[in-house]
Amino acid sequence: MLAPVMTHSRNSVRGSAGPAVLLALLLLILVGVTVVLFASHAYSPPSPITAEGRLTDQQYGRTLWVAGVIFILAQLALAYAALRFRDRGRPARFIRGNNALEVVWTLATVVLFVGLSVMGRRAWADARLGAAPADAVQIEVTTTQFVYTFRYPGPDGKFGRLDPNLVSASTGNPLGLDPNDAAGKDDIVVPVLTVPANRPVELLIRSQDVVHNFFVRELRLQQDAVPGMVIPVNFTADRVGRYEIVCTQLCGQGHNTMRSFLNVVPEPEYESFLKQQAVGQ
């Protein structure tokens, strides 16, 4: 057996307080600046325009409290340990652990984290699980590199048939509408999304080429557009305005140029928008 080398005195230099104080100071600054920035809401997004969006914000607030308190306590504990337990020449306390403490903090985090997940169910369920009401305005969203195209079914309430072989953006048929299908004759195809305020809207999201995304931060809603799938999402916007739609799923060279607008307009204005477009088609 090799004799262990015992050169113990070398390291027990009673260090200066420098590193302990500096580390504690940096951690304090970290906690302080973070708390101030979060509390000031300086970078909060504009307030949501749907009930589901407001539920999401409430859940965000709850999560921020839980995460914030743990963040502050843990970083401060680290700072305290650095200051309090730096080598002052006293021997360390020999502790292997504490089973009671292990049980307490395990159960506490189970309750907190799983509890948060359970509380957050409603915001998700309200936005995603319910089917759209029967009177919802149906609008189809089609993504292609790097544009959004929106289709309304027109007065007959029916979308016409699409055929990939007929797609031709240059001749004014970006979706490939089949001219032989009567249901498609009155379909309205536009590059900007206009919806009535205070009425349920159901978007049917699809993609022609690669995976894209539909994101409006005021809706607190992102949904990928996946080729081969039609993904429904529904919402009721209750604040009139013009909001930016952006793509958040890397879709190619022009990803950052892929943008459109969501216009939330009062009901009468929506009706006149539809009439105007019907004439144009």
């Binding site: 999401t56 965000y60 360390a92 890397l250």
Partner: protein, 595 residues
């Protein structure tokens, strides 16, 4: 310890078959290039990672520069101004290099190869030649990845996640999606092969080659971490390998695993039908989420070891620490769906994945509490490895807590694919893991090179990097909360993104400053390599077996003998002992002398 008796160490007879007095090969090529010595292979992995991280950092600085000065002329860019496809190729290359060739390579294969046999008292890895092959496969994969920059069409623009159909159709979907994307996939496949071989080697070594007395319950937590990581690699990279082969077939053999019917790209109808883009996402993230833990678990092991060494205390709750490593490894395989909340996957599975994801916060919290418990009542020596380990704890807390937002589908519905996610994963798997690597580098440098790094420069580097990394990544949370989208080559096309540019400018300045601070590390590393002070056998008064042999260790690690283990890995400040550390190979009768 009962955990140890579950699997006993290999019988003596098996062990005697292993040659313990190896001859060091002579000649540079046999000794440093095609060596089968686990220490040389470990260093090969380490220097490969060091090269990779330097390239990765430079790429990220180019991206940060372009984001805030999108129209500035760059001397080395064709045409002067960086194009969107060049930017996206940087995104892809940066992500791939950092995830695979830095975060997967250095902590596990670099330090793991070097120190696993030393820490369990073995003369070699179980399969030394396989070990060398693993490295050279990884090296080939790296060259292959770099080759994407020079092939016609340039590097792929689909990011490190390579979602089809963007990545599955060839150059019709964009520049770089032709040969560049194919070469990228080949690089990943080779990397997978290397990682799988290496993981088998790690698992076999830990099960079969532990020294007498090195029960599972006496293994250092680093060894536990490498063990769980190796098992995760074995289970995760096999899936990525399969997915990569399918993607390659879709691209080149006309198969339809990920490509559905009716695709129209740039006006051309594609001749594919029957595939599902979501299938790739499931396969990719089934690998991709465990990958996060593959990157961070070895760091957790190192941090536990370093905190104990420099607090002069046993690791608080050793069994809880080993158990939570296993729990994280296991849970890591059932949470991949949280990357796909808004992918079009059933919203009901979103609820299930949320519950599982939030549960993984529990073992992570257990680790944090036990690290604080290890510091509590200690006698902390603020040496550079210790500072980096404490920095790791701080970043792990910060990055872990931002995860409990993203684990909830309702909140992910707005934070997904924003800079909030960028901030989250850079802090928890990037910065924290890198701090783990820095802690390991400073801790084991004397053992690896027989010299000591300059402590003043090491501390200076720590302070600048600790403050700098927070300055880079904290503001990005706010960019994301405001809806700032990631992977954009230019923000000026969207009004509200343009409004966030001042924050981005601050981040870019912080990135350049922090990047510059790394020069201190490089100088200190290479200068100490040549002219640092001679390192003794055990400079930190540490307890694990690697400190009981010379610095650097001889070719057979323990000079013709194998150690016998008598005690747990972290016997610091044991009451009654005259010294504050009892090495693992210190026999009971010998320890009476020091008690």
């Amino acid at each position: 310890m009962s955990a140890g008796s579950a699997v006993s160490a290999a019988p003596e007879s098996a062990r005697r078959a292993i040659p313990t007095s190896l001859e060091a090969p002579t000649g540079f090529v046999r000794r440093y290039i095609f060596s089968t010595d686990h220490k040389v292979v470990g260093l090969q992995y380490f220097f490969l990672s060091l090269t990779a991280v330097l390239i990765g950092v430079v790429l990220s600085l180019l991206m940060r520069f372009h984001l805030v000065w999108p129209t500035a002329h760059l001397p080395f860019v064709r045409g002067g101004i960086m194009t969107p496809e060049q930017y996206l190729a940087l995104v892809t290359l940066h992500g791939t290099i950092m995830v695979f060739f830095v975060l997967t390579t250095a902590p596990q294969n670099g330090f793991g190869n070097y120190f696993l046999p030393l820490q369990i008292g073995a003369p070699e890895m179980a399969f030394p030649r396989l070990n060398s092959i693993s490295f050279w496969l990884t090296f080939a994969a790296f060259l292959c990845l770099l080759a994407t920059c020079i092939v016609p069409g340039g590097g792929p623009i689909s990011g490190w996640t390579a979602y089809p159909p963007l990545s599955g159709l060839g150059e019709v979907t964009g520049p770089g999606e032709g040969i560049g994307q194919t070469v990228w996939i080949v690089s990943i496949l080779i990397f997978c092969a290397g990682s799988l071989l290496s993981s088998v080697n790690f698992i076999a070594t830990i099960i079969d080659l532990r020294a007498p007395g090195m029960t599972l319950g006496r293994m250092p937590l680093t060894v536990w971490a490498w063990f769980v990581t190796a098992i995760s690699i074995l289970l995760a990279f096999g899936v990525l390998l399969a997915g990569g082969v399918l993607l390659l077939l879709d691209r080149s053999a006309g198969t339809n695993f990920f490509l559905p019917a009716g695709l129209v790209v740039s006006g051309q109808v594609q001749a594919h039908a029957g595939g599902s883009p979501l299938l790739w996402q499931h396969l990719f993230w089934f690998f991709g989420h465990p990958e996060v833990y593959i990157a961070i678990l070895p760091g957790m092991g190192v941090v536990s070891q370093v905190l104990a060494t420099f607090s002069r205390k046993p690791v608080f709750g050793y069994r809880a620490m080993a158990g939570s490593l296993c729990a994280i490894g296991l849970l890591g395989f059932v949470v991949w769906g949280h990357h796909m909340f808004v992918s079009g996957m059933s919203p009901y599975s979103g609820l299930t994945f949320s519950l599982l994801t939030m549960s993984i916060g529990v073992p992570s919290a257990i680790k944090t509490f036990n690290w604080l418990g290890t510091l509590w009542g200690g006698r902390i020596r603020f040496r550079s490895p210790m500072l980096f380990a404490m920095g790791f704890v701080s970043f792990f807390v910060t990055g872990g807590l931002s995860g409990i937002f993203l684990g909830q589908p309702a909140l992910d519905s707005t934070l997904h694919a924003t800079y909030y996610v960028v901030a989250h994963f850079h802090i928890v798997m990037g910065v924290a893991a890198i701090f783990g690597i820095f802690a390991a580098t400073h801790y084991w440098f004397p053992k690896m090179f027989g010299r000591v790094m300059d402590e003043t420069l090491a501390k200076l580097h720590f302070w600048l990097t600790f403050a700098g990394a927070y300055c880079i990544f904290m503001p990005l949370h706010f960019v994301g909360i405001a809806g700032g989208v990631r992977r954009y080559a230019d923000f000026t096309g969207v009004d509200y993104l343009t409004a966030l540019l001042p924050l981005h400018r601050f981040v870019t300045f912080a990135a350049f400053a922090t990047g510059a601070a790394q020069i201190i590390f490089l100088y200190n590393f290479f200068h100490s390599l040549r002219s640092g002070a001679q390192a003794p056998m055990n400079p930190w008064d540490a307890t694990t077996l690697e400190w009981t042999t010379s610095s650097p260790p001889p070719i057979d690690n323990f000079g013709g003998k194998l150690p016998r283990v008598y005690r747990g890995p972290y016997e610091y400040s044991v009451p009654g002992a005259t010294v504050d550390f009892l090495p693992q190979n210190l026999a009971i009768e010998e320890s009476r002398d020091v008690q």
